[in-house]
């Protein structure tokens, strides 16, 4: 038996809506099997993964904290990926945004005023954008592959941050431990609803960015340009669009959003710079971008789902002793099913018995 795909004349609205649920159902089944094999009650495990983190208000706040950077970065990446620019280095742009945004509270701690926070956010975006402009420049000027340069720059950014917090920016009152001084109160991104949990304005930024980029992509000429150049650079050039400018536009937008995510994380959730400020948000966001089908609004949902799987993984680890490796494997499975189920939107799947093709062929010969 073979599997054959038949392209639908247009994307199926039915499966567009249905495919996330098909994926979820398949994930639940596969997860149940996996947990049974590990000797855990599958219902308990699935409960801790998907329901438990949603039961309490503080946990919803945590969900927003975890999802905010993922969503912000992924929205920027969607512009890159739609325009066929493969920015794999958002992790580095996140870090550089955080570093640039921290210049004021770390180097000028006595400058305390309400303008500090807006300046920090702007500098964070600028830092991320500038760092993202490097692969863009190399791509347009020297034809250098951006996958490689943006990825290499991640390692450089990580080591740069490491050096900063151990060397020049080390907290003078910090017993020589590798961290900067704690940000003063004017440099802290406030919580949205402080009495109930610690979700900060980063989540609001993510939602605003989602709407803004969605609008840009679907309602403006610039958005049209992004998609045309992404699908066919030749056609784009005939239409008078410049692909070099588009490379910069895509990288700068995604760098700025990654930088905003970085400074929001540092000033909202951590409160100082440390050697590690990201558990790989820049890479996870690539997955989020594709889970959300490169649609900014879909990305919001995808970011929340992925954040939930992290929180659920912890809940399961504590409650029924499922190790965190299982959580990661489970995330991988979830992604496979979501990606696989999306195939149904554009294609009909046909199962063909192996014999039938021969039959067809012999028929043709006759």
């Amino acid at each position: 038996m073979r599997i054959e795909l038949v392209k639908r004349p247009q994307r199926s609205a039915l499966f567009s809506a249905l495919s996330p649920f098909i994926a979820l159902a398949l994930t639940l089944v596969a997860g149940a099997i996996m947990f049974s094999l590990l000797g855990k009650n599958p219902l308990d495990a699935l409960y801790y993964y998907f329901i438990d983190p949603l039961r309490e208000v503080w946990s919803l706040h945590e969900l927003a904290v975890k999802a905010a950077p993922l969503i912000l970065i992924a929205i920027g990446l969607s512009v890159c990926f739609l325009s066929n620019n493969w920015n794999i280095g958002a992790e580095g742009q996140f870090i550089m945004g955080a570093v640039a945004g921290s210049i004021l509270p770390v180097m000028y701690p006595d400058f305390q005023s309400w303008v500090v926070l807006p300046l920090m956010l702007i500098m964070g975006m600028a830092g991320g954008a500038a760092y993202a402009a490097v692969p863009a420049l190399l791509k347009t000027r020297f034809n250098t592959n951006e996958i490689l340069t943006s990825l290499m720059l991640v390692y450089v950014a990580q080591l740069f941050l490491d050096w900063m917090v151990r060397g020049p920016w080390r907290n003078p009152q910090g017993m020589n431990f590798p961290e900067t001084r704690n940000f003063h109160e004017y440099a802290i991104l406030p919580e949205i609803w402080a009495s109930s949990g610690r979700a900060h304005w980063g989540f609001i930024f993510a939602l605003v960015a989602a709407v803004a980029v969605w609008f840009m992509l679907s309602k403006t000429l610039r958005g049209y340009e992004v998609k045309v150049l992404g699908q066919s650079p030749r056609a784009g050039r005939f239409a008078g669009f410049s692909s070099a400018k588009m490379v910069f536009f895509a990288f700068v937008v995604s760098g700025a959003l990654a930088g905003l995510a970085g400074i929001s994380e540092v000033s909202g959730a951590i409160g100082q710079l440390r050697p590690t400020i990201s558990p790989g948000y820049g890479f996870t966001a690539i997955i989020v971008a594709f889970l959300g089908r490169l649609n900014p609004l879909g990305i919001v949902a995808a970011g929340l789902v992925l954040a939930l799987s992290y929180l659920g993984g912890e809940a399961a680890q504590i409650s029924i002793g499922v190790s965190d490796k299982v959580a990661r494997a489970f995330q991988g499975l979830l992604l496979f099913f979501v990606l696989g189920a999306d195939t149904l939107i554009h294609y009909r799947i046909r199962f063909v018995a192996t014999g039938s093709r021969k039959l067809e062929a012999s028929h043709g010969n006759a």
Binding site: I3, E4, L5, V6, K7, F81, W86, L138, F142, N143, T144, N145, I147, L148, T149, L151, M152, L153, Y155, V156, L159, F160, D162, W163, R166, G167, F283, I286, I287, F290, L291, S323, D324, K325, V326, A327, R328, A329, F330, Q331, G332, L333, L335, F336, L339, G340, D342, T343, H346, Y347
Partner: protein, 306 residues
């Protein structure tokens, strides 16, 4: 053994897993498929290679298992991206995530156990030659295999009909299909070859390089291998050069530290990455050279019309 020779051998050991994984990925990309799951396949190879070598006592069985598991694991990616035409970038990342998770689960009982090591070869007289004897004739067998692999892949891709077919699939899958070539089948085979190589590279880590199992022991080497393929503009011998350059800078910075030159270690540690970018910029400046070699259909999904 002289100091220079010892350093050369150290560089060779650091470069070999990168080379093997990158050569595999090169074949995959030449067929028009971008598999970002190298890290995941590598770590799966590392854990099974270690486990099988430990249980059977034979490093060779370990390598065999690593190759098999790498190929099988890549089949998952192939099914999704080739049969179900999912996005290759996202699927590759998912494969890495799954590999890191599953290998951690499988390896839980291997933690803290010394592994079975595959030793170096010894040829009387030749290995004892001064200055170069150990480097040329006294390394582990996989080192030689990696060179053989590079040569054979180069020969296969550019000197055989099958290689031409594979490249034509990567350059223009539509016209290859029109010529009656089974695009999907060739891509399946290429992906599995890439998986087998990644598995072998992982096994090299846990059987030769550092005979032990530690979670996430690939530590980003799969990503470096991916970068090397682009760096080499999809040419096998340039992958070899890139892997050894990367290894040399990595080892060189450790020596610079041991000599106490007083430069921040973070700067030294970032040198291999910076060097890769700089060399790439120099190479890519020559447009003719890179454009000719880039597989034009790289990363594009293919569904045969019926």
């Amino acid at each position: 053994m002289g100091m220079l020779e010892a350093i050369l051998i150290t560089i060779a050991t650091a470069a070999t897993p990168l080379l093997i994984a990158a050569i595999g990925e090169l074949v995959v990309e030449r067929s028009g498929v971008l598999n970002l799951g190298v890290e995941g396949m590598m770590v799966m190879g590392a854990v099974t290679g270690f486990g099988v070598a430990l249980i059977s006592g034979s490093p060779w069985l370990g390598f065999l298992a690593a190759i098999l598991v790498g190929a099988l694991f890549s089949l998952l990616f192939a099914f999704l991206t080739l049969t179900l035409v999912t996005n290759q970038v996202a699927t590759g990342l998912a494969l890495t995530l799954l590999g890191l998770g599953v290998s951690g689960m499988l390896g839980e009982s291997f933690v803290g156990l010394p592994g079975v090591k595959l030793g170096s070869i010894y040829i009387p007289v030749l290995t004892d030659l001064p200055l170069v004897g150990k480097f040329l004739f006294g390394q582990d067998p996989i080192f030689y295999l990696s060179l053989l692999l590079t040569g054979s892949v180069g020969y296969f891709l550019f000197r055989t009909r099958a290689g031409l077919t594979l490249r034509s699939v990567g350059d223009n899958h539509a016209s290859a299909h029109a010529l009656g070539i089974n695009v999907i089948l060739i891509r399946y085979l290429a992906v599995m070859f890439g998986g087998a190589c990644a598995g072998l590279a992982g096994g090299y880590l846990s059987i030769v390089y550092t005979p032990q199992w530690v979670e996430n022991m690939t530590a980003g080497r799969g990503w470096i291998a991916l970068a090397l393929v682009v760096f080499a503009s999809w040419r096998p011998w340039r992958v070899l050069a890139g892997a050894y350059l990367f290894g040399a800078v990595t080892i060189g910075q450790l020596h610079a530290q041991a000599l106490g030159i007083g430069v921040p270690s973070q700067l030294l540690s970032s040198l291999p990455y910076l060097a890769t970018v700089v060399v790439l910029v120099l190479i890519s400046g020559n447009r003719r050279l890179t454009m000719v070699n880039t597989p034009a259909s790289l990363g594009r999904p293919f569904v045969p019309d019926r």
